[in-house]
Amino acid sequence: MGDIEDLLRQIQEELNLDREMEQEVLTEIRTHLEESIADAVAAGMSREEALGEAAVRFGVGQEVGQALQAAHAGWATADAVLAAGLPVLLALVLRWLVFAPDGTAIGWQQVLVGPAFWAVALAALLVPLLKLERWHYALVSWGIFWMMTIIFVLGSAVRW
């Protein structure tokens, strides 16, 4: 499978995506190449011939990699801005939800009965899950949300 690995490496060198997306792209292409080779072998070619044929039909790895990067580039930037901006937004909204006008924390009981608080908690989970399509981003965002809530409520002695 040397040729497949070479081709995948050429493509990977042109990609600058997050690791999970990059792996998805490469897995999709690997599957394509394996099926192309299997079909060629089934049609009577030797494995070597099939490898060569699949590579030629697929195209130049560098060109495909550049086209893939271009297809994802703008969206990857938008995703990165959202991923970086979400914790900041959560902090600002929490600051407004958790503190009374005089700047003291309103306490767990009042925080947890507020529908606005749960709406923000849900958004912290669902925005990365649905918008970024990444469950682990959702867990991180959810974790940041609760960590900030705990810090804000327990650190009531501090004027935030």
Binding site: E24, G59, A67, A71, H72, W75
Partner: protein
């Protein structure tokens, strides 16, 4: 491939993919899509197979296609695509435009199709 044919293929790849997936009525993966397109065009349009993936990903980002992975980790996994409602709308628009364009061009070129 001639440059005219190449330009036509580039300009029509999106609508051709949408039409294929709509006609087949089932999720398809990249390799399957390419093979079907080759069959349908009877070899007229040659595809560099790798370049179908940037197009599929772009269409997914534009909301024309939806994808999901089939197969368990450790087995051969396939990413399959289906047309979204926005994709169906785009297909209807593009087909209408194409019919209008080709009818006008045929008239201008004096081409008459025998029924």
């Amino acid at each position: 491939m001639s440059s005219v044919r190449q330009q036509m293929r580039k300009g029509t790849t999106t609508v051709v993919i949408l039409k294929l997936l709509t006609d087949m009525g089932e999720p398809m993966y990249g390799y399957q899509i390419i093979r079907r397109l080759e069959e349908r065009s009877d070899g007229y349009f040659e595809f560099k197979e790798g370049l179908i993936y940037p197009r599929l990903h772009q269409m997914e980002r534009e909301g024309l296609l939806r994808s999901e992975w089939l197969g368990e980790p450790g087995t051969r996994r396939r990413k399959v695509y289906t047309v979204t409602e926005a994709g169906h709308r785009r297909l209807r628009e593009e087909l209408a435009q194409w019919q209008s364009f080709s009818a006008t061009l045929n008239r201008m070129l004096g081409i008459v199709w025998e029924s």
